[in-house]
Symmetry: C2
Subunit: 376 residues, 2 copies
């Protein structure tokens, strides 16, 4: 096995290797969560016409001039609701409660109005050609509403990355062999990936090489067999030999992670130990999937500045992920490490701290960035 | 129309009306994003047996006593990978690189080992009966991994709320009539709702009443027709009369929002103006859907303490949603209001500030909570 590379070097390789995929056109109604591949401009003014801004009666302002309760002016009844295009020969709206209708065909106006009163003017929301939504925007409900108001029924978005998951290291009589696969599948879906295949394959080098060769996919994740075992056990690494760029990252958990390419598409070798598998996914595979899909590369977690209530210990020379629990106020307490309690450290924690390679941890009272385990 | 109620009163009504739905069993592999209806305890110790913690050879420690390079001890080769159950009559693992294998059937040990060395002990992750995941947890990839390790293949989760959307106020010749429907549909899906139906219906009282009556749904959203118009235009309100509890909230945008029930299920009347529709959804309908599905009730947005770079103006007596743009550092600048630019205020903004009813806004330099428009 080659020397361990730094976390930063491994991340730089991911960023250089995984770029935004091609675009595809999708119906706007299904576009929530997708990433716009192009800026969208207003094809016409919004609104395209003057519109009523409230419930009332459309009038021509000049016809109401001089109206008062002593001099009511009788006009044809033209009822409008908010959003209605102002009928021809009208330029203002009299609120419902300020006019009387006696015969269902006419109203009496008792107060003068100015042209434009209670009217949403053509172009008030956007002038023609104005940028409505920027390229790279992750589409939310409000974008769908605005783009539909602008007359769009489809948008061009970055394709969702196709993810292939190969599970090569079923342990002998241990945990259900599919636990890593189920976990990584869910994480890849969270990051916008589409799982093309999630299969168990033989742990032998030839089987892995054959499975990698047939890949028509945007990224392949190989789970297990990354360790320093004999050829049979670390088969995943030699199977991508020649294109294996990094094998071993100074990261705990996750130090046997491997990174390479097959036919130009990234391959991430994830360790078989569950916590190592998860973290190698989060920092490398997930980042690649997010980048391929045009999303922000960073961990999809909130983060906050918090204070170490007790010393947080980490090994010098290795970036270490340390699970923490929230205390009172801004305080965080370290929890037993991933090495001790595996995935329980991820499930029982409120968040985690990433202690860089050059640090031995955070002393009590230190301020540091804590990532929150709420939505991620 | 009745008097406007405060935002707090309307939210209190939602919280009293929308409680967590029943539970259902789903396959664990599909459970990401769902809310656990019960705590999950370890059915057995995790791991269930002593396991190899790294690549190496399983040995009985007592058989290696006295081993050194001068006194190598020859043992049968029993190769193990991380996660493998320790074979019978072995209690330690010698790392691969610390033993030599000459004939593929035996190894030579040159260093003593202690029982338990490089072994993940039975129960190290969780003792039998230990709580693995709390009820109410939103299932993420790491929970799926741990629960699968614990042998689970299914979980009991809160049912997803069935949402029915009735669009009653197609404006005359204005924006595409379905824009509010598309927007609200996407927002309801974000909040975990399942859209059972999203249909346009006649704006007349009888049509709305008929549509409401046939509802087999957990919540109904009626879009449009909430304004102070004549019977035809404000048909949604009388159509739920008797069960309409609140009509009019001191909230801008969204002041004509209505809240009621039909057959015990909440009905939210959303104004037809797009920005009002969106905000009435976010604060009331979305909250109800999140609560029905067992999620946290709060707006699903990050928030941060930031500083007003300029005065943020709001009307006394009404809670007002003010769009803002980020400036340098922690500063935020007010943007043109929702009243002026409709949904553009939501799409062009970096976030928003909720100015309470009793306040006229925030003076320059004031510290306040800003909600971020990133994922919501």
């Amino acid at each position: 096995m080659s020397e361990h590379r730094s976390l930063d070097a491994a991340i730089a390789w991911i960023d250089a290797t995984a770029a935004s995929l091609d675009r595809e056109d999708v119906p706007l109604i299904t576009a929530r969560g997708r990433v716009l591949a192009e800026a969208i401009h207003a094809g016409g003014a919004i609104p395209g016409e003057n519109r009523a801004a409230l419930d009332g009666f459309a009038v021509l302002a000049s016809a109401c001039s001089g109206a008062s309760s002593y001099n009511p002016i009788r006009l044809p009844l033209i009822e409008v609701a908010p959003g209605d295009v102002l009928p021809a020969s009208t330029d203002a709206v009299v609120p419902l409660q300020l006019a009387e209708s006696d015969d269902q065909a006419h109203i009496e106006i008792v107060e003068a109005v100015a042209a434009g009163d209670n009217v949403e003017q053509q172009g008030a929301i956007a002038a023609i050609g104005m940028t409505l939504v920027l390229a790279g925007t992750r589409v939310a409900a409000r974008h769908i509403g605005l783009l539909r108001v602008a007359g769009r029924s489809g948008v061009s978005v970055v394709c969702r990355p196709r993810v292939r998951i190969l599970i090569t290291n079923p342990s002998k009589g241990g945990a259900p062999q599919d636990s890593n696969g189920w976990m990584i599948r869910a994480a890849a879906e969270r990051d916008g990936g589409v799982i093309g295949e999630c299969i168990a394959i033989d742990r032998g080098k030839m089987a892995i090489r054959a499975a990698l060769a047939e890949a028509d996919t945007d990224i392949t994740l190989v789970i297990g067999g990354t360790g320093p075992g004999s050829d049979d056990y670390s088969a995943a690494a030699p199977a991508v030999a020649g294109e294996l760029v990094i094998h071993g990252v100074a990261l705990r958990p996750g130090e046997t992670t491997g990174l390479g390419t097959v036919s130009g598409a990234p391959v991430v070798l994830l360790p078989g130990a569950p916590a190592s598998c998860l973290w190698a996914y989060e920092l490398f595979a997930g980042r690649a999937i997010r980048r391929l899909g045009g999303r922000a590369a960073e961990l999809p977690c909130r983060s906050r500045e918090m204070i170490a209530a007790r010393k947080i210990v980490s090994s010098l020379g290795t970036t270490e992920i340390c699970p923490v629990r929230f205390g009172a106020g801004d305080a965080v307490e370290p929890l037993p490490s991933f090495a001790e309690t595996g995935l329980m450290a991820a499930v029982g924690a409120d968040g985690f701290v990433i202690v860089p390679q050059g640090s031995e941890g955070h002393p009590q009272g230190a301020r540091m960035t804590v990532y929150l385990y709420d939505e991620c």
